[in-house]
């Protein structure tokens, strides 16, 4: 087995989420199982490879989705792909969300911008067996209403049992929900940190202030789960790139409890 070799996957559909974010629906050449929160390496052959966490439910076996923001060379070339193009994927890699630790608890999902991608996969997984969890709350923030991903899905999630609160940093005429950074949403929701877990994913600055807020309102470091963004290259704990203290994010993460990494310097940078 060569862990550096991927399998082929065809692009079935491309959904424009925002001006800089697209969701790619991929059909792998063979069945591809992952746990929610695990990531894949997505390669445009001969161009480059980048890590992403599938944003779809792991219960769907024939296809999966990745939501990708255009930020650099590889993501630029991914955004130029068309329906029917064939890419390569390696994985699933890393450890997913420890769902068993969330059972019989109030689950708070705190997302920012494109950081909603892995959280959408998690949310779909939780909602599928919502009776296992006391409550499912989603706090989501984006820069502007146009920057919100999965725009048409929030009402569906709410209907299926998620309590949803959203904010944008800067609203527009049509925006009737909260205006302010995502942490301002904590003013509007009563949470139970004593029997709750919080799962956070978003840009570094949002992860930092989100975590600080969670600690302030009483969440324990071991009940805060963070998706750490690092530049995974090999994805299997050998190349060193995603080093975070003693951990390799690709194999020990990408999801960490805050208590595991709170003493490591520069985790928010």
């Amino acid at each position: 087995m060569d862990p550096y070799k991927g399998i082929k996957a065809e692009i079935l559909d491309i959904i424009d989420e925002t001006p800089t974010i697209k969701t790619f629906v991929l059909r792998p050449e063979k069945e591809f199982s992952f746990s929610t929160g695990q990531f894949i390496q997505f390669a445009v052959p001969k161009v480059g490879e980048s890590p992403f966490t599938p944003s779809s439910s792991p219960l769907e076996k024939k296809k999966f989705e990745v939501t990708i923001m255009r930020v650099g060379r590889v993501t630029e070339s991914i955004h130029n792909l068309r329906r029917g193009d064939v890419v390569e994927v390696r994985g699933p890699l890393g450890k997913g969300y420890p769902l068993n630790e969330f059972e019989k608890k109030e689950v708070l999902i705190l997302g920012g911008g494109v950081g909603m991608a892995p959280l959408r996969s998690l949310l779909l997984t939780l909602l599928h067996e919502k009776q296992k969890y006391n409550r499912i709350v989603l706090l989501y923030g984006a820069r502007t209403p146009a920057d919100i991903v999965y725009k048409n899905e929030f009402s569906e999630w709410a209907k299926n049992g998620a309590e949803i609160y959203r904010s944008v940093d800067k609203g527009d005429d049509k925006w009737k929900e909260k205006v302010g950074v995502v942490t301002t949403l904590f003013e509007d929701v009563k949470l139970n940190p004593n029997n709750g877990v919080a799962i956070v994913c978003g840009p570094p600055i949002m992860m930092k202030f989100g975590t600080l807020k969670l600690l302030e309102i009483g969440y324990k470091p071991e009940n805060i789960y963070l998706s750490m963004e690092k530049n995974m290259s090999c994805g299997i704990g050998k190349c060193g790139h995603c080093g975070l203290g003693k951990y390799f994010v690709c194999k020990d993460g990408p999801v960490f409890k805050y208590s595991q990494i709170m003493d490591i310097e520069g985790i928010w940078e």
Binding site: Y4, C234, C239, G243, K246
Partner: protein
């Protein structure tokens, strides 16, 4: 424990060279040994100290197409204790599941005791020794008229057994001579480091207290990556797209772009954190995660540093 005389040793290597590609260290000047491939009529000397380049690049290449290659059966003679310790760490990383299928595990490792040392060598300040105690297939200790040979693996024993007529049981006098010689080299090496020993147990606290050392020495770092390239314990690489499969390039945490993520965030965009990272990785992170230190005390990073940074001094100053 076996003994092989000088003449028999020549016959031994000559016989092996028919089946194996053999590499061995050769003195090119007073301060430098380099790896040579054994050719007809050449004799292997195992005197001396570590080579300029570590042995790790026999096991994987600094630039490598990750495709199946025809591998020649290979023996490397004369790896020193530092090379062996570095390889042990690399094995823990590359051979942890899922295994890297391109990291060679078929190479026979015939190590040798250091009989002298380089002015930059400092393994004794880490409590290490200038000879290998494990991690080899066969180990050779130089004696006046031949070598004492220790078997370290079944593979090593097989090679030895297939040439059993060339070897004899080692005598107690020969065994003692090796112990004396090892002790002498170790003592002299300790003197080179003025008998100093690092308190590895309490290094973490010392690092936190003496971070100014990283600025004092790091200001001369030019981020050239010499130190990581020639370190037997550095293993980092970057995976890129190639024609058939991926290509692996050696990479270095000393490069500015090494830790940069999508969107541009970079926890080690500044020089000092990058410089400090080498010490953290080798003395804190790898022992915690892999159970082995990433520094073997070979001093190659001192020899290779373009900024004339003396890493032995850096370590001792952290402790001071």
């Amino acid at each position: 424990m076996k003994f092989i005389g000088k003449e028999n040793f020549a016959a031994f290597t000559n016989s092996l060279s028919k089946k194996y590609e053999i590499f061995y260290p050769t003195k090119v000047n007073e301060q430098q040994y380099e790896w040579f491939k054994l050719e007809d009529g050449k004799e292997i000397s195992l005197e001396g100290f570590r080579t300029v380049l570590p042995a790790k690049y026999f096991f994987y290449s600094p630039r490598e197409n990750l495709v199946e290659k025809t591998k020649k059966q290979t023996i490397i003679f004369g790896l020193r204790g530092c090379d062996i310790r570095g390889l042990e760490l690399l094995k823990r990383i590359y051979l942890e599941e899922p295994k890297d299928p391109y990291f060679r595990t078929d190479i026979l490792i015939f190590s040798a005791d250091c009989t002298t040392f380089h002015t930059d060598c400092f393994c004794t300040i880490l409590g290490d020794k200038p000879f290998a105690e494990e991690g080899f297939d066969l180990n050779f200790s130089c004696l006046e008229d031949g070598f004492l040979v220790e078997v370290g693996s079944d593979r090593g024993k097989e090679v030895l057994d297939s040439h059993s007529t060339l070897f004899e049981e080692a005598t107690d006098i020969q065994k003692k001579a090796v112990i004396d010689k090892r002790t002498k080299v170790e003592e002299e090496l300790k003197k080179q480091s003025s008998g100093k020993v690092l308190d590895l147990q309490n290094l973490k606290e010392k690092i936190e207290k003496n971070r100014a050392v990283f600025e004092e020495y790091g200001k001369n770092c030019v981020s050239c990556s010499s130190c990581t390239n020639i370190c037997p314990g550095c293993f980092c690489f970057l995976l890129c797209e190639g024609e058939e499969n991926k290509i692996r390039y050696s990479d270095s945490c000393q490069f500015k772009g090494y830790a940069k993520v999508a969107g541009g965030a970079n926890p080690r965009k500044n020089l000092f954190p990058r410089f400090a990272n080498r010490v953290y990785c080798k003395f804190l992170y790898r022992p915690e995660a892999q159970g082995l230190r990433g520094c073997t005390g070979c001093g190659r990073c001192i020899s290779g540093c373009q900024g004339k940074i003396n890493f032995r001094e850096v370590l001792l100053k952290i402790q001071a």
